[in-house]
């Protein structure tokens, strides 16, 4: 039943009221002419209401004349009538089509390119390479072959270990991973020395090849030769032989950092006042909406980008930027000695941990308070054990 109703709705039908003394005759003539009638109901002795298809209605006029009935339309229903109604409104239809086309076009274009994961390679360099491949803002999505782009980027940039190219809505996402460049390794055939990476006291020295020049407990300076690759013969007349020196030299090293103990600390707190600067943009063109000047002296800025996004993926190239300025106020906090020292110590430790290489092991740490010119300083010394051996070509400085 539902399907039939749906069919009638699509084809369109009229609800008519037939009045006359021989409505039955009208019905008979209609059925004989292959006109489908349904939902026939008697309203009064002379009136009958029924439903009829649009096509049938055109033929029904002569049937009505023949049966001497009057036919009037009570209601027109179905899709064709709705279409007719809107056909007259040309502007509306044109607008609808234009809208659909515009949406389609706008979403089939790359509106933003995002490159992430690059630390050493400049984004501009990558961008230029992309431009060279015909990828820029405004390029159609179809023209981009992610695999080709990824391969080309990998070939052009040796530093890249991996490249991912993904089109997300109107955004081209390029994610790269940079490989760690392998350290300069001196080939085994080439003779070399082992020198100290930094100052320290030798704990142990183990030469796999070459002649050890220092022993345990020795203090060495940075750059000092620890294991020599030059083997002098006992008999000077035979001269010397050069080998590829190798070995591991564990040494005790020190790292030091100093920080002033602060007397007070300045905290910046938001006052809760806020002033917004609005600007609209299309691609890179930005127009500031004039709305006064920033009233704050000390402030923090946050940027909110309000661009229309279709289905959280298709970002369009225009929108509104709101720069939010939050007013800040400074508050001085007087610290007591213990707090202040702790703070200074923490800062000094942070600084040291930046200096200490990853492979070094921290053995001991010491803190010292130094007073000079009425100010207090915290000095932190960290003692580490690490391998300070590094290969270096003979002769070079």
């Amino acid at each position: 039943m539902f399907l039939i109703r749906l069919w009638h709705y699509f084809k369109g039908y009229v609800i008519i009221i037939v009045s006359g003394f021989s409505v039955e005759k009208f019905i008979n003539i209609c059925t004989r002419r292959q006109i489908l009638l349904w939902d026939i109901e008697r309203l009064s002795p002379t009136e009958v209401t029924m439903k009829m298809s649009i096509r049938g209605f055109k033929n029904a006029r002569s049937a009505a004349r023949k049966s001497r009935c009057r036919v009037r339309i009570k209601e027109k229903k179905g899709l064709p009538y709705i279409i007719w109604k809107y056909k007259r409104r040309k502007g509306f239809v044109i607008g609808l089509v234009a809208f659909a086309v515009l949406i389609y076009l706008m979403t089939s274009i790359i509106w933003s390119i995002e490159i992430t994961g690059n630390y050493n390679i400049n984004t501009d360099v990558l961008m230029e390479q992309l431009n060279g491949m015909g990828i820029f803002r405004g390029a159609t999505k179809r023209s981009i072959d992610p695999k080709y782009v990824a391969d080309t980027l990998m070939l052009k940039n040796r530093e890249l270990a991996w490249t991912g190219v993904e089109i997300k809505g109107t955004k081209l996402l390029i994610t790269v991973r940079e490989g760690i460049e392998p350290p300069v390794v001196i080939p085994v055939e080439q003779p070399c020395n082992v020198v100290a990476k930094r100052d320290g006291i030798i704990i142990s020295i183990m030469a796999k090849n070459g002649l050890t020049l220092v022993k345990e407990g020795d203090t060495v300076k940075k750059g000092q030769v620890l294991i020599s690759g030059v083997l002098e013969s006992i008999h000077p007349e035979f001269g010397s032989k050069q080998v590829h020196a190798m070995g591991e030299v564990l040494a005790r090293t020190w790292y030091e950092a100093e920080k002033e103990v602060p007397v007070k600390k300045i905290n910046r707190i938001k006052t809760g006042l806020e002033w917004n600067k609005y600007s609209v943009y299309f691609l890179d063109f930005r127009i500031r909406l004039p709305l006064g000047n920033n009233p704050f002296e000390l402030y923090e800025t946050g940027i909110v980008d309000k661009a229309p996004v279709i289905g959280n993926r298709f970002k369009l190239p225009f929108g509104l930027i709101i720069e939010k300025h939050y007013e800040l106020k400074e508050e001085e906090q007087v610290l007591d000695q213990e707090q202040a020292r702790e703070l200074a110590h923490k800062m000094a430790m942070d600084k040291i941990l930046e200096m200490v290489p990853k492979e070094a092991e921290i053995v001991d740490q010491q803190m010292q308070v130094i007073t000079a010119e009425g100010r207090e300083y915290i000095q932190v010394t960290v003692e580490c054990t690490e391998n300070i051996a590094i290969q270096k070509e003979i002769g070079g400085n």
Binding site: V23, E24, N28, Q34, L36, I40
Partner: protein, 103 residues
Amino acid sequence: MKRRKKDKTVKRKKESATVKEKVARMLEIPEEIVSDRPKITTVGRKEVFIENYRGIIEFTNEIVRINSNYGIITITGKNMKIREITNEDIIITGDIDNIDYVV
């Protein structure tokens, strides 16, 4: 009055098998396909389905009279409507009391 008079003039066939029907019976084809006898199907008391009719004679909420080759079929009841009517069949719905043949 006029209508009743007309009813009498309607040619009525006898309920005996025609040659077509005999052949159909021999070949084991369902008879209603070849015969022009009306086929009435009712579903509960709400729906009557009539095939092979010739036309409607009267239609009100209480009575529907349908002409067929073998007489007038009178359906009485309440709130009767014609749900669908085509050249071959007619579907009547409503609270049906009676289905009669008037010969």
